[in-house]
């Protein structure tokens, strides 16, 4: 039996697969001790814990602690003269205009201490003194530090001092969480590496107690696998060793799940779009490889430089608050109402209108909303009233027009986000598929695809729960990288030997592993990444660089060689993809739906569970399933393909 568990703020979702049989479980989360909800979900799922082969877990513990600033007191030991690197950032400001206020680094100034040590990019200039280190560390523990980060200048390219410091401290305090920056991040720039290290140390005690809490409730703790931000799977021990790698655990699982499905239908180029209650996450996948990044700011001043999926996030989901700005434009998010009190139509608050209220007013979702946990009755009048007060009246338009405006604003915003990702990756997104999931993804998929010129949309079965499924479809990915500084052409032999070394560290073959080089043109501070084959000659690589806009004119210096392998976990895709459950009476019904172009139409409401492979039709219509509704505008046709996938295709009219 394989189990996927996704712990959210409100609910804990579990999906299990055994001999092709799928079960889903939804239990309330237990925020005081999340492992309680975890184990109660597990006990509902199976009475025989011994039968569990693997538990794939996506967690938000690290992200929440970082965003809500509820992590540990971290002490920093750093190079003399550079105590404040975390506070200085990159000398930036948060926004182009307006007042900027103080930035609080994750490590307060009084817990940032210096030791005399210094390295150049290549060698130790001033060795670190173990006695001084121990004294400083002791003083940090005395002052209440719960974790210590050692972060020295140039520790990536010359790690000797940092390594010695780590050994000294862990030797003396073997049970305390002690980290070194070069182990946690391979960023060759101090601020990003220190920041990543600080974030890891900040969430370490929390993640450690969380994972060990779960481990204690399992018969065989070794079956637990944690999804990390690049979509790989690691053991609990590995996750604890660098907890910040779990920061994008949830979204990463979804993207890799999408990849598995798209691979099965031979569609290597797609945009994974996950729209839930609070945010919209999109990731561009070309040639079957999701875009990766090492450069992502979690919030202002806290970059995380570990390899992760390049997921663009905007704070706009079903529960996001909509309002009207002073210049009469509609603003959406980032503030959200969550599941409690939720949108106005939940009937628990009347002051804030949300995206879901707009969907309800336009008839895009049913007032008897089917969720996996049962039917929820939504209050259309409350939604109308709030939307009228908050949006329609300030703009002087009808409620329907206001709701359409809200939705088109949301969809345009998301399309812009995807277009810019394509631009940065030098990809034309219009020939990609839009793979939409999450509770609100299928609802808005057509509206997002349209401005991008995307003509094909794929929606997986049980789209609302797809992220939890994603974990089951995730393939273990392993990666490592080596910092370097050699010329691409004259250092060709060195390049091959680093690739071989990397591959060896992963126990993989140099030719089957994927490699990527980080290079910069001499005299330029700007680095770019280039995928490379182990068999490719240096002149060939040079040629490709010359053809890459923004790569400069050479000669190129290789600053990092990254190698990764994607393992294959036995997973039987059709078995893992859920059967959609019937949600309504077999007789089809109709309801009036207003589309975002402002036109309304009487639409057929179809039950996705009643559809089978080969069924097809034209828009406008609405296709409902538990937890997600797909809106098909008149310019799209739909059909059900293999694996229960719902395809939307634009008419060439």
């Amino acid at each position: 039996m394989i189990i996927g568990i996704d712990i959210g703020g409100t609910f804990t979702d579990l999906v299990s697969s055994e001999d092709g049989e799928i079960r889903t479980v939804k239990v309330p989360s237990t925020p005081d001790d999340f492992s309680e909800g975890f184990s109660s979900a597990l006990s509902v799922a199976t009475s025989d814990p011994g039968a569990i082969e693997e538990i794939v877990h996506a967690t938000t513990v690290a992200t929440n602690a970082l965003i809500q600033r509820k992590g540990a007191r971290v002490g920093l030991i750093t190079t003399k003269g550079f105590r404040d690197i975390l506070a200085l950032r990159r000398r930036d400001r948060g926004a182009a205009y307006g007042i900027q206020t103080r930035f609080e680094p994750l490590v307060p100034r009084e817990l940032r201490r210096e030791v005399s040590e210094r390295a150049s990019p290549t060698e130790v200039v001033n060795p670190v003194d173990p006695d001084e280190l121990s004294i400083v560390a002791q003083s940090l523990w005395d002052d209440g530090a719960e974790a210590i980060l050692v972060a020295f200048l140039h520790a990536l390219t010359c790690p000797d001092n940092e390594r010695l410091a780590l050994d000294t401290l862990t030797g003396r305090w073997p049970d305390k969480p002690i980290f070194a920056s070069h182990v946690l991040s391979d960023a060759a720039t101090e601020f990003e590496r220190f920041s990543t290290g600080a974030a890891s140390a900040y969430v370490a005690p929390l993640v450690r107690s969380y994972l060990s809490g779960i481990g204690e409730r399992l018969d065989r703790p070794e079956t637990l696998r944690v999804v990390v931000s690049d979509g790989g799977l690691v053991s609990a021990d590995e996750a604890e060793a660098n907890p910040v790698r779990t920061a994008l655990s949830g979204p990463a699982a979804g993207v890799w799940g999408a990849r598995a499905v798209c691979e099965a239908i031979e569609e290597p180029a797609f945009v994974a779009c996950d729209m839930g209650g609070t945010s919209f996450d999109a990731c561009l996948v070309s040639d079957g490889v999701p875009a990766l990044t090492r450069d992502r700011e979690l919030t202002f001043g806290i970059p995380l430089a570990v390899e992760m999926l390049d997921i663009a996030t905007i704070g706009a989901g079903g529960g996001s608050v909509v309002s009207v700005s002073s210049v009469g434009t509609v603003e959406v998010g980032p503030e959200g109402m969550g599941a409690d009190p939720g949108p106005a139509c939940y009937g628990r608050q009347v002051h804030r209108a949300t995206v879901t209220d707009a969907d309800l007013v336009l008839g895009r979702i049913s007032s008897e909303l089917k969720l996996p946990s049962g039917t929820r009755n939504l209050d259309v009048d409350a939604a109308r009233k709030t939307l009228n007060e908050r949006v329609a009246q300030p703009l002087g338009v009808s409620v329907e027009a206001a709701a359409s405006l809200v939705l088109s604003t949301v969809e345009e915003k998301m399309a812009d986000q995807i277009r810019q990702m394509g631009l940065k990756a030098r990809q034309d997104v219009s020939d990609h598929i839009l793979f939409a999931y999450g509770g609100a993804g299928p609802l808005h998929a057509a509206g997002i695809a349209d401005p991008l010129g995307i003509t094909r949309i794929v929606i997986p079965p049980n789209a609302g729960l797809f992220s939890a499924w994603g974990g089951l479809l995730t393939q273990p990915r392993q990666a490592c990288s080596t910092a370097s500084a050699f010329d691409l052409v004259t250092g060709e032999d060195q390049l091959k030997s680093v690739m071989a070394l990397n591959a060896k560290r992963l126990n993989a073959d140099i030719d089957t592993a994927s490699h990527a080089l980080t290079v910069r043109s001499r005299g330029s501070a700007r680095s770019i990444s280039l995928a490379a084959d182990a068999t490719e000659s240096a002149p060939r690589l040079e040629e490709r660089l010359r053809a890459t806009p923004g790569a400069g004119r050479g000669p190129w210096i290789v600053t990092r060689v990254s190698t990764s392998i994607v393992g294959s976990r036995a997973c039987d895709l059709p078995g893992l993809l859920p059967k959609t459950v019937r949600v309504s009476d077999p007789e089809s019904t109709t309801r009036s739906v207003v589309f975002t172009d402002g036109r309304s139409a009487d639409c057929l409401v179809l039950d996705r569970g009643a559809l089978s492979e080969g069924d097809a039709g034209d828009g406008p219509c609405v296709i409902e399933e538990a937890g997600a509704t797909t809106v098909v505008p008149s310019c799209f046709g739909w059909r059900v393909g293999t694996l229960g996938l719902l395809h939307l295709e634009r008419n060439h009219a």
Binding site: A96, R102, F103, L153, T157, S326, T409, L423, A485, G550
Partner: protein, 579 residues
Amino acid sequence: MADPILENRLLSRIQAGVDEAEVLFRARSMSAGIDEGETAVSLFFPDGGVWAEGTDSAPLMAAALVTWVDSLGDRLPTDPSVPLISNDPYDGGGTLCDLRMVAAVPMGEAVGWIAVAGHYPDLGGSVVGGVAPEARTIQEEGLRVPLTPLDDTVAGLLVSNSRFPASTGEDFDAQVAAVRAGQAWMRDLGERHGWDAILAAGRSMRERSRKALASARQELSTGTFVRHDRLDAETAGLDPRHLKLAVTVSESVIEVDFEGTDPLVAGPTNCSSLSTVASVLCGFRHLFPEIPACGFGIDDLEIRVPHGSLLDAVFPFPVGGTSDVLSDRVISLVIEAFSRAVHGRGRACDGGGGNVIVVEGLGEDGPFALRLVTGAGGGASGRGDGLSNGDAASRHSRFASIEEIERAFPVRFHTYAERVGTGGAGRYRGGDGTVLEVISLLDECRLSVYADRSLRGAGGHQRGGRGSTADVEVFVDGRWEKASGRLQGVALNQGDRIRIRTAGGGGYGHPYERAIRLLSEDVRSGRLSRKDAAKQHGVVYASSDARDYDSAKTFKLRSYRLTSSDVDDFLDEIEALED
């Protein structure tokens, strides 16, 4: 009535097109500066007013595009295939390193424009980056390109005058690609929706934004608000220069008058009148961040720049200090003056502009040139303490990494740290400045420094204190020496050093109003000594433990209930505290 949904969609497509051009420019460029934010893209209506600007555009560069396009008038291009290019500071503002392009965008019967600006790392001149502290004429600052049709000749000319020919060529190509992408986007949009509808949407947005600004403007109290500031002397021994600003708000008009500002100087700290106007616009926009670019017009403010003043540079006076120092001083002055007229939006002055350090020499791989622009403390506001080591209000960019610099250049950083305690005191304190100390690892290098704010710290607001001033010191021939903020070509040998300490931001509100919780944090983190806690903020700590404050004494001190003997006792007690 127009269809609000279509209107909304068209406006968002317009914004997306402008953003696309800027993202493309940055992604295709090769210079770290352009990639990390020193660009601006704006779209203009056929009447020459600004329509939209890039979401991440640098504020001053965007404002300079507005004043430039406005000043071009009849000279604006009409043939979409021939964009115009210029970096002429006297005929457009900025410095010689600010390269601007403008191209016609047919909008139905009419013609609008898209303009793209980028700050290039070098376009010639006696010091890399276009700021030569000893420059007496603009020729020493680089190559001047008057308004010229864009072709390969211009590109070749710029490339062959740059110290970084390879990256300059790439940057130039990227900028042209951005212009073309913007044009193509607009053409496509026009074909789909027709320009009548698009222009109507744009005009309606402009009207709404202007109304919003007009109503926000009602928050301004009427009256005249005068502020002045001092700039460092261009040459040791000369008098410092004064900036003077009088903002007069009446029911009908806002006057911004620089009368009383000192005349042009023989040095780079001048700017053209268009730059001055752009800086005023930029400062004004900082006060109303919620209003989009199209809501602001040059005619909203009546700006008077006295002829012959250092804010009205004419040929051949150098203007290299425009973007790094002078514009930010003008922006600060504008914010300071308006802060007195407006409640709730006011804030203290920033410690920035930037301070520029340039080290040039001959390394193993040939000539090198390292250019660093430091941050300073941001002004505090009613919302909280100022940002430490913030970028200047004119910019929206980032500092290079120390590790990257040390890998690429023969220098070693000795210190890069917060300059604690340098923000002005107040209910909210100003952001702290920065200390930066660099050692040369090579003989026969040349050091140039262009720094300011050594005479007068950033002003506070609502009785908040002034931030500390900046200073520069050099370590040559085995000893430290205080230096002026205008150094050019100082010989640096192996082991010689430069240390720059940048200014703090101004404080906000009376220091006695600062919350004890915040003060305890300041003391604990080493930002404030116990003595200063007592002297400036009226809080007495009984011991070095910052939790342990003496509530009785603090109450007495803060409520001014002291007898004369109390005062003497207190003074003794406070003096006895360690710093």
